[in-house]
């Protein structure tokens, strides 16, 4: 029968066959072709010593900006251009080298890590002996011997372990950060083989899928040839030990390698996620396009003018300035094109090569401030904020929608068992009298106050059910000398571990109610009951929990041989499957608890007859053995098995709100963000949490869009109803949103559940109206300050985020969550934030930023996000500004030099302007600028609105900067022009040449541009002083040096003594002062006038804070703030 299944899937290509111990299967059984597998070398490094230069160059030049500069450089090399190739080659070389060094260093680190991993010794069973090998020589099919605390070198299938039941414990801390011990199971047929001799005698093959990156999925099958009778067993992720995980609590294991080297799941997971790009980056690219257009049009204008001007041959080629013969013979079109390129080269500096480097450095270095932040460190966990991508720093200052998970994010995910309800009787465990059952004092819901004998039976069954239906492990504590203490030796040394905190709370609650779960031994679960007797149940099947079914089940056989299916899950998942039990009472209690904000679970059971059990086994095995669609088939099987349940009762677990969660949400609201809670929880529970966390206030008018309502009315009517309600207030709302959130205006809160949401989202069908549902829904949401989405499947969370992202305003979204079910929305949102919670590290691994607690979000957004946005927007605008100032005079100069592409500045100035004279001050500004003190930012969240919607990078502001740049350029150029106009300005009558002209413009330029930044700086630390004045001094010193020596390696000496001669002239000094003043004047005026006439909140606070530092009296602080805010 097994072979029958095999042949059915013979042509399945995506599978591999592994011969355990490289032993061929008995001839005739099958005709698999041995595949070639890679060795176990992990290569995380991108480059080798030999290919580093070409490969790194290739990768760097794939970036548009670098490629553009490379083209410019090549043009300079090929054709005769005004500036030497050095001017663009050197900065490009600098940028490329810096990046290459950085990447090379990182790669070297990776090589080092790779080597230490690849050369790590491991033990392999060969010919019945354990042999030491280097890890990289491990091959697929090798049987590996692992000892405790060793880390798995590749993905392995567990064959046997030192434990009799064939289990082993593993932590995947280095894989996903979950430090809990997970149980893995050996293959049933091989678990007895636990010496090297025996293991060597195993004759089996494994068929499994080709490697997949999903850490938690594995499908395979082992064929064991014993006595030439092949036996097939399913293999699942519970048999698969992943590379990177560590063996714990188990003396040794034997396992066979199935995926090696780069094919291990861990290696497959190295691939980086899709890159997110920030709004700032998008603006930056838009600006670049504008500047590229400006550049091209400048070059075109000049080329056209040049040929118009040159129409007269005496201008084109006057007697004193002949062309060379080859030049003269060149075709006019070629000449014009060359001229166009030459103009492009001359003006190419308008697109700042160093901007990318500076932006990258700013982001990279700036992100350290998040990691360094003391206030975002959690003492309890010993964790601090983590930055996974620094690309999105500034996006933190732009968030408009916050999508937050509830459990573990808003709440602590620190579950406490509160009560349980069996058939309507409420039990509250008394903390003081441990082990005593206290019938609940709040018995108002109880209908039958005196439990009869039948009820008593039900009660015990309920407790047993909770003790059995879980996946909790018992952690055995180790003593110092390494002797292990079992749970039986000392209760105090053991505790429960599970991936779900609810389960731990329940099992612990049961312990307090008298039923203690001891351990799982030899597939028997042991329970210590109230009479201190140990009850043993054979664990037959575990129907694991998943978030779609929202329930889990176990099938156990009691010592008396009865078979039970125990099922626990969300009420919505259980009630439809219940056939009997006191449904009404329990339902009432569940709803009551949910309103209190408690997490409720329902417990049910189903006695199974042996025949039914056989059927169940058949179903499950069929599904488990499937290599394709196993999950789907399992889900179908579960669906069939978990039915006809008898309701036992319900539990209530409290999940407390995280510290300062309400404060954080309130701040986010005040900052103009819309907070949505997306949870898988019940509506009542979630709504209670929302009230507690001040998401909904007392005066919030709640709009419901739930299944309950859509059952009464059609979805269509409900939606239109709601939109009408909301839109009536629309005018009031918008006005209100300007003056901050005041309490008197009704704001709306929307509650929607998963089922209704999917109805809303359903694509338009035959009914043309349904297509508009999305729009109407969005319209409603837009006018609600808070939205609660309950009963969400993980994918729906992402769907919602996507929906909002795609709505017509394209708001910036942020998703925050802690569990695996939040990963999809974290990946979907513009910014994904992971909370280092208790549900493992998946969210953290997939997030862009990770913080220990929800409350840290406040500082993250209001302080860091705000700062980063201010900083980078200034950085971007300033970079374009300073390059307009730099290049526009060159453009103007063309009108006075016969459009001959004569550069105004010397090569050294052209080269160094962007990479040294003006680069450091702006980089420093973009790292440490604080326009407002961070305490004020935190205290006054409404300041966040001042930068909303990318307000500092809007087109008017960009145009202002560009116009300012053009103005400055005109002032500088014509100021110097009129100074030079046909006269001398030295006291000895000597004349200056064109290089002095350029140097004078350049000197004014460097000073103006630096002073402009100084004017914008609101936070002058000693470093700012050092860098700003330092870079000016550097410019002067460099110029003195550059002109002070006849440089032997240069073929021209045009700058010789130019700078010094210039400084020896009084009028040069006077004109420098004059031109700097005139250049800065409009900007100063604009600042002062705007501040006086139309001050933004930020500016008012700045003035207030300014006086604060003078007053320095905390009592006056509020007064000052108030008065300045009026």
């Amino acid at each position: 029968t097994v072979c029958h299944i095999c042949t059915g899937e013979e042509n399945w290509v995506d599978s591999r066959t592994i011969y355990i111990g490289h032993k061929e299967p008995p001839s005739g059984t099958e005709a698999f072709i041995q595949q070639r597998f890679p060795d176990n070398r992990i290569v995380s490094s991108k480059y080798t010593f030999w290919n580093f230069v070409p490969k790194n160059m290739f990768e760097q030049f794939r970036r548009v900006a670098n490629f553009y500069f490379l083209i410019i450089f090549l043009v300079q090399l090929i054709i005769d251009t005004p500036t030497s190739p050095i001017t663009s080659g050197l900065p490009l070389f600098f940028v490329i080298t810096v990046t290459a060094i950085k990447q090379g260093y990182e790669d070297w680190l990776r090589h080092k890590a790779d080597n230490s991993v690849n050369q790590c010794p491991i033990h392999v069973v060969q010919h019945g002996k354990v042999v030491r090998k280097q890890s990289r020589k491990l091959r697929v099919g090798d049987v590996v011997f692992m000892k405790e605390n060793e880390t798995f070198p590749c993905d392995l299938i567990l064959l046997s372990s030192s434990r009799d039941d064939g289990t082993c414990f593993v932590t995947t801390a280095s894989l996903d950060g979950e430090s809990s011990h997970k149980t893995y199971y050996a293959v049933q047929d091989t678990k007895a083989y636990n010496t090297e001799k025996e293991v060597d005698s195993i004759h089996a093959t494994i068929e499994c899928e080709q490697p997949q990156p999903d850490l938690y999925k594995f499908v395979g099958r082992i064929n064991v040839y014993m006595d030439n009778e092949p036996v097939a067993r399913p293999l699942g992720s519970e048999n698969l030990l992943l590379r990177g995980a560590t063996l714990k609590n188990t003396e040794y294991i034997y396992a066979v390698a199935i995926y090696t080297g780069m094919e291990t799941k861990m290696a497959l997971n190295y691939q980086s996620k899709t890159q997110k790009r920030s709004a700032v980056e998008k603006s930056m690219n838009a600006y670049l396009v504008v500047y590229l257009c400006i550049l091209i049009s400048k070059a075109l204008i000049n080329t056209v003018l040049k040929y118009a001007w040159q129409a007269d041959p005496n201008r084109d080629e006057p007697w004193y300035n002949d062309r060379t013969e080859p030049e003269r013979q060149r075709h006019i079109v070629v000449r014009a094109f060359t001229d166009f390129l030459a103009f492009m080269v001359l003006f190419n500096y308008i697109i700042p090569v160093s901007m990318y480097v500076t932006v990258e450095m700013q982001k990279f270095l700036g992100s350290y401030f998040i990691m360094w932040d003391d206030e975002m460190f959690d003492e309890e966990m010993g964790e601090r904020a983590v930055v996974n991508t620094s690309d999105l720093n500034e996006e933190l200052g732009q968030v408009e929608y916050v999508f937050t998970d509830k459990t573990g994010t808003l709440t602590e995910n620190n579950m406490e068992f509160i009560e349980c309800c069996v058939d309507g009787h409420v039990y509250v465990p008394d903390v003081i009298c441990n082990g005593q059952v206290m019938p609940g004092a709040t018995t108002m819901d109880m209908i039958d106050t005196s439990p009869g004998p039948g009820a008593r039976e039900h009660e015990e069954l309920f407790f047993r059910a909770l003790c059995l239906c879980h996946t909790v492990q018992v952690k055995e504590e180790e003593t110092v000398d390494g002797i292990k203490h079992g749970i039986h030796q000392g209760k105090s040394t053991s505790f429960y571990i599970s991936s779900s905190p609810d389960e731990v709370a329940l099992v612990e609650g049961m312990k307090r109610l008298g039923f203690t779960y001891l351990r799982l031994k030899d597939s028997h679960m042991e329970i210590l009951n109230r009479e201190d007797e140990i009850e043993r149940f054979q664990l037959l099947e575990v129907l694991t929990f998943d978030s779609v079914r929202r329930r889990m089940s176990v099938i156990v056989r009691s010592s008396t041989g009865e078979l039970y299916l125990f099922c626990k899950g969300a009420d919505s998942a259980i009630f439809p499957r219940v056939v009997s039990g006191k449904v009404e009472q329990i339902k009432a209690r569940v709803e009551h608890n949910a309103v209190e904000g408690l997490r409720t679970l329902c417990v049910a059971y189903r006695p199974l007859s042996p025949e039914q059990y056989q059927e169940v086994c058949h179903l499950l095995n069929g599904a488990k053995l499937a290599l394709q669609d196993r999950d789907k088939r399992l889900a179908e099987a579960y669906d069939i098995i978990e039915k006809d349940l008898i309701l036992l009762g319900a539990t209530a677990v409290e999940d407390r709100l995280q510290e300062k969660a309400a404060d954080t949400i309130e701040s986010l609201h005040k900052a103009g963000m819309k907070v949505w809670v997306l949870t898988g929880d019940k509506m009542e529970t979630a709504a209670a949490t929302c009230y507690a966390s001040k998401l909904f206030r007392r005066n919030t008018q709640i709009l419901e869009l739930t299944t309950k309502r859509t059952e009464e009315q059609s979805l269509h009517d409900v939606l239109f109803d709601l939109s009408r309600t909301v839109l009536r207030q629309h005018g009031g709302m918008t006005r209100d949103s300007f003056s901050g959130l005041s309490g008197d205006c009704t704001d709306y809160g929307l509650i929607i559940d998963g089922a209704t949401l999917s109805a809303v989202m359903r694509p338009a069908q035959e009914d043309s109206n349904s297509g508009n549902y999305k729009e109407i829904f969005l319209e409603i949401c837009r006018n609600c300050s808070a939205v609660l989405c309950c009963r969400m499947a993980p994918l729906q969370k992402a769907q919602i985020v996507k929906l909002i992202k795609a709505s017509k305003e394209h708001p910036i979204t942020l998703a925050i969550g802690d569990g695996a079910n939040d990963v999809s929305m974290i990946l979907e949102a513009h910014v994904g934030i992971g909370i280092m919670g208790k549900e493992g590290r998946q969210a953290v691994r997939n997030s862009d930023y990770a913080i220990p607690k929800f409350k840290h979000l406040k500082k993250m957004l209001l302080v860091h996000g705000h700062y980063y946005y201010i900083r980078i927007s200034e950085l971007v605008q300033y970079f374009f500004y300073k390059n307009v100032c730099f290049i526009f005079p060159q453009f103007l100069y063309q009108f006075f030099c016969g459009f001959s592409q004569q550069p105004l500045y010397d090569t050294a100035y052209l080269t160094l302007y962007n990479i040294s004279f003006t680069s450091l001050p702006i980089l420093l500004y973009s790292l440490i600028e604080q326009h407002i003190h961070m305490d004020i930012l935190r205290r006054d969240p409404s300041l966040y609105r001042d930068i909303a919607k990318n307000s500092l990078l809007r087109w008017p502001i960009f145009i202002y900067w560009t116009v300012l740049g053009v103005y400055d350029a005109i002032v500088m150029f014509f100021g110097v022009y009129f100074l030079f106009d046909n006269t001398t300005f030295t006291s000895n009558g000597q004349m200056f040449g064109n290089w002095t002209f350029g140097t004078l413009v350049f000197t004014v330029l460097v000073f103006t541009v630096t002073f402009k930044l100084a004017l914008d700086t609101h936070y002058w630390t000693w470093i700012n002083h050092f860098v700003i004045w330092g870079s000016l001094i550097f410019f002067v010193v460099f110029s003195l040096l550059w002109g002070g020596i006849i440089w032997p390696f240069l073929n021209y000496q045009r700058m010789y003594y130019v700078f010094m001669q210039m400084l020896s002239s009084g009028p040069a000094w006077l004109s420098i002062i004059l031109l700097i003043t005139a250049s800065l004047l409009p900007d100063v005026l604009k600042k002062v006038i705007c501040r006086t006439l139309w001050p933004t909140t930020t500016e008012r606070i700045q003035v207030g804070a300014c006086s604060l530092s003078v007053v320095s009296n905390p009592a006056l602080l509020e007064v000052t703030l108030l008065s300045s805010c009026l």
Partner: protein, 369 residues
Amino acid sequence: MMATSYNAKDEDGRVTVCGPGGGPLLRGKKPENTALKQQRLAAWQPVLTAGTALPALFAVGLLFIPVGVGLFVTSNNIRELEIDYTGADASSPCFSCSQSFSWNSTRPCTCTVPFYLEQPYESNVYVYYGLSNFYQNHRRYVKSRDDGQLNGNEKSLTEPSKECEPYAYRDNEPIAPCGAIANSMFNDTLELFYNDPNGTKIQIPLNATGIAWWTDKHVKFGNPGGNDQNLSAAFQGTTRPVNWRRPVYELDSDRGNNGFVNEDFIVWMRTAALPTFRKLYRIIGKKDNVVPTLPRGNYTLEVVYNYPVRSFEGRKRVILSTISWMGGKNPFLGVAYIAVGAVCFFLGVVLLAMHHKCGNRNGDGDISN
């Protein structure tokens, strides 16, 4: 873009993969509480408000206007006379010279331009020649020189730089000095005569030293083999530029002013910034304190007309100018100072009014407290 850099960080854990397992040390993660890391460096936090800008504006206004007035007065006190001798009009004395110009003519054409000085020039008088519509700043022209050669480098002397093309070689002989700039050196000779009221014509001595930058003459320019050598020997194997009548070693009889260190040559080699420019030609030194350098009266300018400008519609001028500490006559700086100062002052007044009106309305905290 930085995602790649974080790969290394992601894989930090892998370095320890080999060793016995065990969680990372959590307690070591606490960030350091330093002012820099916590972004709490002591800082001066200035805010540009009307309150701070107003005094600055007034100060600038009050400072700039007097400076501007001073500069303007200084500029106005400078005497300057400009004589155009291009000879473009038929009436002008140099008309025939300008018409009959030919590169090959051996006999120089001279013309005499009379002029009248209305005011005496008291201090040193600087004689400039001016050219207009002459693009010395054309790229092809600016780069057409070999600084190595001009510095006296022997190798560059015989192998001029490619930049000098097409003025690098003539008949396979290297040109010294090479390049378009040198080739087109201004070669008119200007002489100045004072027509004494009693009828005699007194030649005014024109001093040719000190017209070039000291550093240019002594460092940047140098003859091959040093200035003391026999120059004709040093320039052996080279030929004169096409348009020159004499080789470079015959520019001046004075050894210290000959060859590449000839000051007229150096002055010409400093390319002008704009197409209309003037260059210092000679200096008329002040004799004593009693007699003005150039007294009021009639003068004659005698020009040996060698330099053609008609082809490119250029003009040639001679400028006589006195010099102050701020150079020649240029009212721009003074006017600009006055203008900027006045604007600042005016804006200061406007701002003050605005500040007074709106400042009260806004209830400025900084004043009330």
